[in-house]
């Protein structure tokens, strides 16, 4: 019934399996509630103009565009969701049956109703005044070029259909469900990664393959989509459990063997990252370089937020200080002083400057705790940007004009790294990412790392145990600042100019979302988070693979963050420790239910749920 997840995931107590419920025994209020939420969501998505804008981007040629995909997703999701049963100790879980299908149908129907009503309203009223996207184009899209009544009928039908599919998914056994999910991911992935795959294939001389897979005007061919889905489905069924086996085997490895396995994996990843750009064209390399810059930023913020538990909402400040000081030190056009240092020499000075900036910003801020600290860092992030923008300092930093004509980064006279050759930028970023990974990894497993953990857990007690919390947190702040400055220095050389507008608060937020999404405190998770979010959706100003999403990026980031906080606060790839922190109570309860309480022999103390220790 439930996935047999790792023992760290709570709520996996084995439940009784009861026969399916009768087809119409629903809690109808729940169905209506879930359906209505989806209906409102559908209308919102439609009015956000996403479908119209994204209609250009084909997923599967000729049947599905990204625009329609966003409208199909919600009914499917609620159709699946309504069949969810909370597993509780001693409460039977019903085997899914016709009931789930009917529920999915109903939910989907209501969800589709949202669009049906919207279509009718669109045809008869003009609300363009408050709702800018209230347009005939939207109606046209909803009605597939027909009349409004057609739209109403077809969306009811589509909603019901998708909802039913969602309900049917509940009926599938684990293997077939995995196959379906793999197929869907494979096709969607192929479509999303289209430009990347095409570009790499071109570099490797495999155009023949991609010509067959993709249509010339974008999108996966209908036939190839079916083929791809088929192959992936078979692979999923055949390889069932292999991946998990491999992973658990890896987890069981001890000592030297484990180090070897990890080293092997890392070498493989490094080799891929070094070889890949050689085959990639300029655009792909540009994308890789941008993702790399954000990985670097995210790794830096991870030290502050993930390891030391300081919620820093102004991290962009260090990115800005790094960029600006690089600009001032290397550019000939820098307004006040222009030492025109070589990039590498400047970098040393930049590290010192940002380190000091970290100290100066950190010293007053670090004594605060929790929410106050978050707000104050947010303020400092803005202050730094406004300082660079101000008339007062425009003699130094050029105000809103910024500093332009920053020269390329000269690396020991071997190469020059600048935006004109993104491949070199990527390699440079890669080196600094490796450095950042090494730094976080070493520090986490040291006396300082343990002190950070203790501070994160309970600052008062950490202090009573002899940890100078101010110093320890300041160190995290400074390490984070320095790592951020690397990114800033590379950014300055890459773009060739710095403006205050590049360092909006939005950058801080995006980096934070990346860290949270990936899994705070877990290096691999943070990297994966940056790769997925920045790579697919794009950074604050940088386009991702789904260029069409740029307009809606913030909406999607926001929605993702909310969903993540509700459903999986530990992130995509959580660190074991973070998961524990977030689910400690539940896990302690579960352990108690399973009778695994640590009983220390001496006692005849009555068993009871363990007392929470944090006051």
């Amino acid at each position: 019934m439930t996935d047999t997840a790792s023992p760290l995931v709570p709520g996996e107590a084995k439940a009784l399996l009861a026969p399916p419920r009768p087809a119409l025994s629903h809690d109808w209020r729940r169905i209506v509630r879930i359906g209505s939420i989806a209906a409102l969501g559908q209308a919102f998505i439609a009015l956000s103009n996403m479908p119209v804008r994204l209609d250009e981007r084909l997923i599967v040629k000729p049947v599905l565009s990204l625009g329609y995909l966003v409208l199909l997703f919600l009914p499917l999701a609620v159709g699946y969701r309504q069949g969810h049963q909370t597993v509780r100790e001693g409460v039977p879980v019903f085997r899914p049956g016709l009931n789930e299908v009917v529920g999915g149908f109903s939910c989907g129907l209501i969800a589709g109703g949202g669009l049906a009503v919207l279509a009718v309203l669109l045809a008869n009223f003009d609300l363009r005044e408050p709702l800018v996207n209230w347009s005939p184009i939207l109606l046209d899209l909803l009605a597939f070029g027909n009349q409004a009544w057609f739209a109403a009928v077809i969306w009811l039908a589509i909603g019901a259909g998708m909802g039913t599919v969602g309900g049917v998914l509940r009926l599938l056994g684990p293997t077939s469900r995995r196959a379906v999910v793999t197929m869907a991911i494979a096709v969607a992935g192929a479509a999303v990664l289209e430009s990347l795959v095409v570009d790499l294939a071109e570099g490797m001389g495999l155009e023949a393959l991609t010509d067959r897979l993709y249509d010339r005007r974008g999108g996966v061919n209908w036939n190839s989509a079916l083929g791809l889905a088929g192959v992936c489905g078979i692979l999923a069924v055949a390889g069932r459990g292999r991946l998990r086996q491999a992973r658990s085997r890896h987890a069981e490895l001890q000592g030297a063997k484990r180090t070897q396995a990890n080293a092997g994996l890392m070498a493989l990843a490094a080799a891929t990252l070094i070889v890949l750009p050689l085959f990639a064209g300029k655009l792909t390399n540009e994308l890789l370089a941008n993702v790399g810059l954000f990985v670097l930023l995210a790794l830096g913020l991870n030290v502050v937020v993930g390891l030391a538990g300081i919620l820093d909402l102004g991290y962009v400040a260090f990115f800005a200080v790094g960029s600006y000081s690089t600009a001032v030190l290397t550019a000939a056009t820098s307004p006040r002083i222009a030492p025109e240092m070589p990039w590498l020499v400047a970098l040393i000075v930049v590290v010192i400057i940002t380190g000091l900036a970290g100290l100066f910003i950190g010293a007053p801020v670090i004594r605060m705790r929790g929410d106050y600290l978050a707000i104050v860092t947010l303020g400092f992030g803005e202050i730094i940007r406004l300082l660079f923008l101000s008339d007062w300092l425009s003699g130094w930093f050029g105000g809103s004009q910024g500093i332009t004509m920053i020269p390329a980064a000269d690396i020991f006279g071997l190469t020059e790294v600048s935006g004109t050759d993104p491949r070199r930028v990527f390699y440079l970023v890669l080196v600094f990412c490796a450095l950042a990974i090494y730094v976080s990894w070493r520090l986490e497993r040291s006396r300082m790392g343990r002190a950070w953990m203790a501070v994160r857990e309970d600052e008062t007690v950490a202090e009573a145990m002899g940890i100078n919390t101010v110093n320890v947190k300041l160190l995290a702040f400074v390490v984070g600042a320095v790592l951020g400055s690397f990114s800033g220095a590379i950014f300055a050389a890459k773009v060739g100019s710095v403006f205050p507008a590049s360092f909006l608060i939005l950058v801080s937020i995006v980096i934070l979302v990346v860290v949270i999404f990936g899994g705070m405190g877990n290096i691999v998770g943070v990297i994966a988070g940056a790769a997925v979010l920045i790579g697919v959706l794009g950074g604050p100003k940088q386009p991702g693979l789904l260029i069409e999403f740029s307009e809606f990026k913030l909406l999607i980031y926001g929605a993702l963050l909310i969903w993540m906080m509700l459903a999986r606060p530990e992130g995509l790839m959580p660190s074991v420790r973070r998961t524990r922190e977030l689910h400690q109570q539940e896990m302690a309860q579960d352990a108690w239910l399973r009778g695994e309480v640590d009983d220390d022999g001496g006692g005849n103390r009555p068993a009871g749920p363990p007392v929470a220790t944090q006051s």
Partner: protein
């Protein structure tokens, strides 16, 4: 046990005061949590602090460890005042404590809890860790060894597989033990134990009582213990100090204090007599 007690008691009589509070007062708004308290602990001594609920016992610990600020008076440790120090500085001077409401680093492993508490006795900074120097590795090994040694003081309970378990999986009694282990790891001269046997069953509390004696005999700590259980107080203490409403109403060995009419009244008058 009684012999070593006697020997230690003699040493305690003659040794210099390790910790002294001089006319210490703590006010919370209008409430005098501690009033002109004069109190001392000598090297190698085990002092019990008793008193009804709200008497100010925990507040005394908080004042010594700089968690709350003294309103008047002075606290002197090894001849130097502790006033104006931060809690972590007090710990580095050599005073460690446990908490009445057990406050472990719940998501850190048992071993890590003890390792991190050696922070103020170790000095490898970030650069050592980054360069992975010999000194760093040596210190890490030492930290680990010391932690294991401290944990093995509690028998088999906190060692073995349990060392790598997160602290929140421990039983209640083991959490209390781990708190003591953590205090030991700061390498103190004086340990303040706030109700170490609260919530334990008689078997466990008898065992912990023995442990308090061993802490002094084997590790040489001076110990102040707040305790409500009179059996435990009688067993461990060289000297008993009774607080009521922030004032010291009696002091002396257990027998003398237990028969003091003022003490009996303080307990019975409050209606929270000994259990």
């Amino acid at each position: 046990m009684t012999e070593t007690h006697a020997a230690a008691a003699i040493a305690a009589e003659t040794g210099p005061p390790l910790l002294e509070t001089k006319a210490l007062s703590i006010d919370f708004g209008g409430l005098h949590a501690l009033n002109q308290l004069t109190f001392e602990v000598r090297e190698g001594e085990i002092v019990s602090v008793i008193g009804p609920n709200g008497a100010g016992k925990t507040t005394l610990f908080n004042a010594i460890t700089a968690t709350v600020e003294a309103s008047a008076g002075d606290i002197v440790f090894e001849g130097r005042s502790l006033l104006g120090l931060d809690p972590n500085q007090v710990t580095s001077r050599g005073i460690a404590r446990t908490f009445q409401n057990v406050r472990l680093f719940a998501n850190m492993s048992v071993l890590e809890n003890v390792m991190v508490s050696q922070h103020c006795r170790t000095k490898q900074h970030a650069f050592g860790a980054l360069l992975y120097t010999k000194a760093f590795r040596r210190e890490e090994a030492e930290i680990r060894q010391r932690a294991e040694k401290i944990l093995s003081f509690f028998g088999t309970r906190l060692v073995g597989y349990r060392m790598d378990q997160p602290a929140f999986t421990l039983s209640y009694a083991n959490r209390r033990r781990l708190e003591i282990a953590r205090a030991m790891a700061t390498q103190p001269k004086l340990i303040l134990l706030d109700e170490p046997v609260a919530g334990m069953n008689p078997v466990e509390s008898a065992e912990l009582t023995g442990l308090v004696g061993r802490l002094r005999d084997e590790w040489g700590f001076a110990i102040v213990v707040i305790e409500h259980d009179m059996g435990v107080v009688k067993e461990v203490s060289d000297r008993v100090v009774v607080l009521d409403h922030g004032e010291k109403i009696a002091e002396g060995d257990y027998a003398a204090v237990a028969s003091d009419p003022e003490v009996i009244e303080a307990y019975l008058g409050k209606g929270t007599g000994e259990k």
